[in-house]
């Protein structure tokens, strides 16, 4: 962005790993007209939410024949409704080949434990495979459904973890306690214990707290202990983030 003309020796780009929020549309069966009217209906419920939304079609639970899916038609339908179809996730070879032929990307099928919504959806489809309607949560929820909110103080010796999302603590984190999250960590009390954000390597994760008195803060493995935190933001509302691979702590007021 900033290095348009100045740094001529440096390459014009750099590859970085990123975990971006995406909405997955789980497809159970496909009929062009039904698909369009159902999608239209959902979008009408929350037009602002869907406008320009990047979307991936989940094929893991697709029960129909591969030949029934017309990806070109689906792409056109989505475009017409201002939804950006990016690719497909999972699905058999035939489906993947069809998707790729119209320029859709292929994402690997989810292998880790499915979030609760999916488990429930699986149970539901197992009960009644015929009335395969998409679970309402799949479209309504933003992808941050794995966030965890803790209302009680986190006491010495306790460990609270949000393994798939953000962790929000509405109270204090005591000395000797540990809070961890795959995403951001928010502490709306005093942070006296240890806080680790981005535990799966998300370098964009941050830590926010109302008063920084932490034993340790860490983002994606880069950490600082309390001795090295005294300089900036100590005993103040503060945030910690990674900049150029370095953990930076600043007061929130700045």
């Amino acid at each position: 962005m900033a290095d348009g003309g100045g740094a001529s020796a440096a390459p014009g780009f750099q590859f970085r790993g990123a975990m971006l929020p995406l909405t997955v549309l789980e497809l159970y069966s496909y009929d062009a007209r039904e698909f369009e009217s159902a999608l239209c209906e959902r979008i009408a419920q929350a037009p602002g939410f869907f406008s320009g939304m990047p979307l991936v079609v989940g094929l893991e639970k697709f029960a129909g024949a591969a030949a029934t899916v017309d990806f070109a038609g689906m792409l056109a339908t989505c475009k017409g409704l201002d939804v950006q179809l990016l690719g497909v996730r999972g699905g058999g070879d035939e489906l993947v080949a069809a998707a790729r032929s119209v320029g859709l990307a292929q994402f690997p099928a989810t292998t880790s434990r499915p979030p609760r919504d999916e488990v429930r959806a699986q149970e539901r489809t197992a009960e009644s495979a015929s009335e395969a309607k998409p679970p309402p949560a799949a479209a309504d929820n933003t992808p941050r459904c794995a966030s965890r909110v803790v209302t009680q103080p986190v006491r010495s010796g306790q460990q609270v973890c949000a393994p798939e999302g953000d962790l929000v603590v509405l109270s204090s984190v005591s000395a000797g306690a540990e809070v961890l999250a795959a995403g951001n960590v928010h502490v709306y009390g005093t942070l006296r214990g240890r806080a680790l954000a981005g535990i799966h390597g998300d370098e964009d994760a941050r830590i926010f707290c109302q008063s920084l008195q932490a034993e340790l803060v860490s983002i994606a493995g880069r950490y600082k202990i309390s001795e090295h935190l005294q300089g900036s933001g100590w005993k103040q509302p503060a945030k910690a983030e990674l900049r150029d691979d370095t953990l930076i702590v600043t007061p929130l007021a700045e």
Binding site: R155, S172, T190
Partner: protein, 268 residues
């Protein structure tokens, strides 16, 4: 149904047994039928502080293991007639306390008593967990210093996760903070954590502040619960704490440095 109150702290030597003796005596002198149980199996201090060590025949472990009836083991206090002491065994170890055995004894006591005070051993291991498991309320005894506050924080976490109420999803154990050995002069000099400091870290309601007092040691040595020493600030502070435990609204005392009056200043 008796109300079960555990006196706990995590750290040792902060005044759990002193507090158990005084609170149980305070409840009994107000007319409540009260039992106080020493969970510190292997060390046995409560009967000393209550001055009944020479009357111990059977103990808590004997009752749990069916070697004695509860009535045989309970010792009636000589000063407060509705107070009974269930002493700890000195010859067994803490593993003798089983959850089923403790539950059986507490259930039996519950039928006739108003309050059951459980004097917890130090630490966070088996004995301490047995003492707090069945509690309805907890008095967390804390000294105004960092390691005691840390241990209290730890034990509050255990109360919130490993008590029966927590495990069965009932209303949580009601926690009370009792700050002991408090010296306002040292707080003023910055040598000791203040009430506000401790409350900010532990974030539970304050039951009372017991000032550091020579009377506490004297009372322990004589086998008289300090609450009966009505002259001493510590005795008065314990009486306030018992009143608050029963729902009375009393102002906190002994928090400030005692101002010297004119004559004291003249002759100092």
């Amino acid at each position: 149904m008796a109300k079960i109150i555990v006196i706990t702290s995590g750290k040792g030597g902060v005044g759990k047994t002193t507090t158990s003796a005084s609170i149980s005596t305070g409840l009994a002198t107000r007319g409540f039928k009260t039992a106080v149980i020493d969970f510190d199996v292997g060390l046995r201090n409560l009967d000393l502080v209550m001055n009944c060590e020479r009357r111990v025949v059977y103990d808590f472990v004997n009752v749990i293991q069916g070697e004695a009836a509860l009535q045989q083991a309970l010792i009636r206090d000589k000063r407060a007639e509705s107070l009974f002491i269930l002493p700890a065994s000195q010859t067994r170890d803490k593993e003798a306390l089983t959850r089923e055995g403790v539950e059986k004894v507490l259930n039996e006591l519950s039928e006739t008593f108003d309050y059951i005070i459980c004097d917890s051993p130090a630490g966070i291991e088996h004995g301490a967990q047995m003492a707090l498991y069945f509690a309805d309320e907890a008095v967390v005894v804390t000294n105004p210093e960092v390691s005691s506050v840390r241990d209290s924080d730890r034990i509050i976490g255990i109360l919130q996760s490993k008590s029966r109420r927590a495990e069965q999803g009932e209303d949580p154990v009601r926690e009370h903070l009792l700050l002991t050995r408090y010296t306002p002069e040292r707080v003023d000099r910055g040598e000791m954590l203040s009430v506000a400091d401790v409350q900010e870290i532990l974030a539970i309601p304050l039951l009372g502040v017991i000032p550091e007092s020579q009377a506490v040691l004297n009372a322990s040595n004589q086998g008289v619960p300090v609450i009966l020493d009505e002259e001493s600030p510590a005795g008065q502070a314990y009486d306030d704490a018992v009143a608050r435990l029963l729902g009375e609204n009393r102002e906190h005392r002994f928090l400030q440095t005692q101002k010297k009056n004119f004559l004291q200043r003249m002759f100092n």
